[in-house]
Symmetry: D2
Subunit: 456 residues, 4 copies
């Protein structure tokens, strides 16, 4: 028997394969589905069932491609009309070797959300664990902001799903959620990836709101951002995404090729570290360090661009491609072979972004130097603590709100630690702002050295 979590870094998506004997089931497969096929093959099992806990909005689900490859049947909740797969309903159950997977409809995050209860009949009927999708996480619960006009109703649904259906499975049930820390699907998920219903019942902050109305108010007070790409994901995951039997390969490009592509309208995406971007970058490129790609591509990259990557290492390219095809991007024009070094030795001009450390920033603030400190963190972060006088525009919205920034003034971009700030700096430079500096270290560093901060 094998129960393995497959984690997709970046979107912090957790999928699972459950194998017993010669049979396997996959829960919420990602689009680059090769990992499940390989695991099943190594175990000598055939993937019989694919379950979608809900119509995901933050990545392209790989069910259709995986089903084409394996002949498995796809199952999802009956409360939505999918263009493929089989609807399941409360009480349906499926056998995977000696295990049972029992369906529990658990709406709230979406209407057709389901949970899947693992029962090992060979030892007893008590649930061993439960796949909760986006209903319940380690340290948080699912967002309920996808139906703004039914906000109260769906928050109540989630309460019922969790308190009436999931928690009654018992403290002993192990929790297998669809996301971990870092996901856009929740703000408070724990970095610990193992927990039980019992532990969550006692310590999950959201579950301390045990009264239905209290829980609903708590959920209504939350604020979540919706990246632009969510709409495409919803469409893909309802109708089925275009087939992708093998991963695309982004070819190497020379500096000439890259310049030509840029001139023809391609978007240059710089995947390197904030420090490297600060040190030298191609004019007109959009900086999104690889670690941030999954989190911000959906806000900042339109699907209509051909994409050209500027990588640090050649291996970054295939990681970027994997991350982006999971979000439905598929126009990969190539990457700059040799990285920025190749651009530099071609004799072309490059730019540098001055980096401002916390001590420097503090001194300039105290001297009342005139500049805009542009804080691009999420609203909730800014609200909690901020440098006095900072202007706030959330990074995901920056491209659309550039006219809110006073022209001509020097700008220092600022965020939690300096990474989102470099993205912001690159956006500003792409749009003609000239005096742009970046605070590597940002809030974390300011806290450490004791800058004066406003709170609450």
């Amino acid at each position: 028997m094998l129960l393995k979590m497959i984690k997709s870094e970046g979107i912090a998506h957790l999928s699972y394969i459950l194998v017993d004997g010669a049979e396997a089931a996959v829960i919420d497969p990602r689009r680059d589905y090769d990992v499940y096929v390989e695991l099943a093959e190594a175990e000598g099992a055939r993937i019989r069932h694919i379950f979608e806990t809900h119509r995901n909005e933050d990545y392209v689900i790989g069910s259709l491609d995986l089903a084409r490859r394996t002949g498995a049947t796809i199952h999802h909740g009956q409360a939505m009309d999918f263009a493929y797969g089989e609807p399941v309903t409360d009480g349906d159950s499926f056998e995977i070797g000696s295990l049972q997977l029992c369906v529990l409809e658990t709406p709230g995050h979406t209407l057709e959300s389901i949970s899947l209860v693992i029962v090992d009949r060979s030892t007893g009927e008590t649930p061993v664990g439960v796949f909760t999708g986006d209903a319940l996480f380690v340290g948080d619960v699912g967002r309920t902001d996808f139906f703004p006009d039914r906000a109260r109703e769906v928050a109540g649904m989630l309460y019922d799903s969790i308190f009436e259906k999931i928690l009654p499975l018992g403290d002993q049930a192990i929790l297998y959620p669809a996301h971990g820390a870092g996901s856009v699907c929740g703000d408070n998920m724990a970095s610990r990836e193992f927990s039980t219903l019992g532990h969550e019942r006692l310590h999950n902050p959201a579950l301390q709101h045990t009264e239905r109305d209290d829980f609903i108010e708590y959920k209504l007070a939350e604020h979540h951002n919706q990246p632009a790409y969510f709409r495409r994901m919803e469409e893909y995951n309802k109708k089925g995404a275009p087939p992708m039997p093998v991963l695309p390969v982004a070819p190497p490009l020379s500096p000439d090729d890259v310049e030509a592509a840029r001139d023809a309208g391609a978007l240059l995406v710089d995947l390197r570290s904030p420090e490297a971007i600060a040190g030298a970058s191609i004019p007109g490129s959009l900086a999104i360090p690889l670690d941030m790609l999954s989190a911000y591509a959906g806000y900042l990259i339109d699907y209509d661009y051909d994409l050209v990557f500027i990588p640090e290492e050649i291996t970054d390219v295939s990681i970027a491609v994997r991350h982006l095809i999971r979000m439905g991007y598929d126009r990969f024009a190539g990457y700059l072979k040799g990285g920025l070094h190749a651009w530099e030795v071609s004799g072309r001009a490059y730019e540098q972004i001055p980096a401002v450390h916390a001590g420097d920033l503090d001194a300039r603030l105290k001297q009342h130097e005139e500049f805009i400190l542009l804080d691009v963190r999420k609203a909730v972060e800014f609200k909690t603590q901020r440098v006095s006088g900072a202007q706030h525009i959330f990074l995901g919205e920056l491209q659309d709100r550039l006219d809110e920034i006073e022209k001509g003034k020097p700008i220092i971009t600022f965020c939690g630690s300096g990474v989102r700030a470099i993205i912001a700096a690159s956006i500003l430079k792409r749009h003609g702002f000239e005096h742009v500096e970046n605070s590597l270290g940002s809030m974390e560093a300011c806290e450490k050295i004791g800058c004066s901060l406003e709170k609450g």
Copy 2:
């Protein structure tokens, strides 16, 4: 945060590495410790602590080598006087990043057994999980037969450890035991490797004996075998095993080399499948199919032999070496390059062992053909169900009880499915028995075709 189980096949030993931030702890490391070093390195962590849940008797613990390599501190229970490491006691606790590992003395299986409770203070004081060593498994509890003259006392200790200390940690705590299904440390472990205290409390057969006296009687009624190698393991694990910074390499040998080694007293260990052994094998070799090596080497192979392997694939050799060094063997003279094929084309003689399928066996039994059906399963298996008239000698004791077998009569060896039977057949042939056949399929096949069987 990372909590990863490392499974050593064969002995079904489960060790763990727990990483948070730049710190790591290892629980019950095996002797080929490279896996922990590599995992810690990949996570950017330093192994600070090594915990031994108890002085293991079924494998050589790798604490000392791992500590030498990493500078970590070794901890074990204070109730035994180890020649190395630091004693810990109830209530001691250790920090691994933001996690806490709290010591619980849980004697019974051995006197100095400890459990280690995982607390994640960032979410709450309730235990998230517990490393239970050989106190509590998924589906079973630890054996308590190591102190025959204090049998009742130690069974009671185990009761107290489980019912007074471990189960009170709460149903929500995830169970991380030191062994899984297939271990010699318990007969009833489940193949499912994930469970919680809550699930075990409800369904673990041993834990249904909730009355102390009842539990003690249940434990006293158990029968366990003690392979000969346990004594050496105990000695090694108390004093510290010889250092082994890198794994030994068994060199390739020609048929001439193998013959010379055999004539000089080396033991030829045939690692191939039962079918291949049945088809052709080297006279005088001891057959132990690779899958069975960990389970039966400790019974059947004396430490004083130089070992020569007869592998199916070249990769079998390093697996065999890994398995055997975990049990303290270290005299690897080499392996027959090219496998049995090389022996055959050298012009040397080989032997064949006739294979008897269930239908054939059934017919011969019904015709009252005269032969000894030698059943080599464990006593408890034989007691549960057997072919009428079969003679029983447990495989682990066969080499010492050959004189109980009537000379001159044909013998058919028999076990659960035919694998242990081929080992038995090879032992018999090594010791001069001539008419030896082997029942590939054995009891499983007999059940399937409805042979007449005695039960209970």
Copy 3:
């Protein structure tokens, strides 16, 4: 710069990838083309050109799939009318970074055969190496038996290609042929995989026939077998094989499934070792040990069968699939999960094939025991040396010549070392011969112990 040989075991096919800077070329890609894509990706190169040295007859070429995946252009000799790709002619040349690949038409093995000369202009015009396809090998030259009615003409063509075009490139040129030892495309290839034109000129046995007529006579005297599958390969490679973007997966089957498949007409292919097959096998299965699969599947397996594998290890299955899709097979019904052990414990009957070692065989021959010694080696092997009185039928023709074997007599199958003999034994048993034994060791063993042998 990278020049890497990719060897396909079994058919001993050698393909190559040549990379310089951001450009790559592939010579004679196999059907499972993933290896070239991965190598090019790791080097940061784009595969621009695919060369087919000739229309291969012993495997499915992967040009079309590889071109679809990479956008590369396919090139082959102009002397045949392919349904895809671009014809090239003497003197065409292609740049791969700073290297040049120059086309040399080198007919003989086939009419459209080409060689590709590697020139590194940065150091000088002298050829550094040459891809010779099936014109010239290490230790042999290409077969010229594909145009029986033009035999003398094509042998002469090959002479001209080698002596007038290839050897004049100079002793210093490194030789990169399309096959190595073990290929059906030549009998005398060396196990050494590195050589130069100079070394071959001096030592290649075929090249010692420096007179044109002498060379032609030498070639005409050769005898080669043509496996049945050659015809399909020719068709596929002329028209383009069916697309195969990802490798097929053979699913696990239970003994019930396997029996049902066999009863429905599927062919059970036993991939295990000769010893394991001798020990126990499924009635009606065709034994082809995995190492022999590429060499004999094309003779013995019809394309119309659904195939069910009986593997030793689970990893054997994907190797078998890889090998067979290279030969155009694509009907993989699955494999017996758990191998023969699963069949045995299901209670089903199995068979055993007695194994006869050389000493035993010798004794039985000397006692004039009555049996047919069926030698299934190639004609040239049999002609060179044989056991007196042996009957010869080449293994590749055995299925079609069973009526040449006297019915009712015991048979001992015999070959070079015992592997082909077990295949022959399994064929005989499938076709109702009852008293079949197999000589594991066969000729090699007979030589070693000094059996009396006829020669010449």
Copy 4:
């Protein structure tokens, strides 16, 4: 038969393993010798012989550790008195399976240099290939500057070795040298890693000096640098280096740890890209981008430092350790976990180095802006082509010649493409120079945009 080249990036060292049947030989093993053990194990061979073509001066040879692990015998030329191994002399030969390795004494580069001729007796006596050590490379010959007072004599020896002993082996012999492009052991090696004696005879620039005196003059006119670490290598390789059974592990450090280590005298080695170093770096660190580590560590890092790495990726650390232990370094204090980002968010100050692209540099030169253009390339590069007015100090000597640089003036560091320039910039900043800029792109970029350059 297997002949595999193992390339050690950085020092461009080429070692080889030659396997036939169950025997293997290794030529010039590196210190991290695991690769040879694993290859031999996978082939089923035992390493019997280790050959050192000469007492290497640019890396620690791994013969002793490899011999300890495998029991192999070490061989080297008789003309030097090694503290270990067996001396060999002209005409000695060794069998590896069916191959022969024949010793040829080929002094010149060093006095005890040997070559090893590969003969495959199964095909003929003509040499198939030759391991030439540092006597003959692809595109160059060995340096002969290690005996300054016998310069003419040893250059003559090399002539005799190549023209009298190696080239007479025949054009057909494949060349297997001990170094490839990028090595400090020659300036003109080709990036192509395959060649033959025939090709070199015709095109190797050094071999065009076919007259002995002419060749000697050619060699005497060469200029080579000798990194400081050569002395330690010579000592280690003559006496045997300290044993190293397993690779050291550099542990993770926090910014506090790193600061404390630096304050206690440790050297911080920044392994990141030039751009990242330009963007932000730790004051006092020495920048050596990972790709340059093997080439410049030996010049710039004293053996007495504890080393702390500043990596881009965690995987850089073990690569750095591998590269440095090959050069005899063994004091690895750790690495900054989380890279420079961790330092930034700790609130500590960091530095930025302005980057000057070619267009900018050209403009500033034309405006006669006052600055020192410090060119740190090798003398031969500077002599060939330079920016007018540039000051030249070779990077390897910069730390010792800082007093040649005028104080107080702005400096722009300059090299071939900008990588060595960033190392130079970091050295200057470490030593108190304040106005330091760096020309990313440097000479390559200047050429591309047509800066005015002096030549010859």
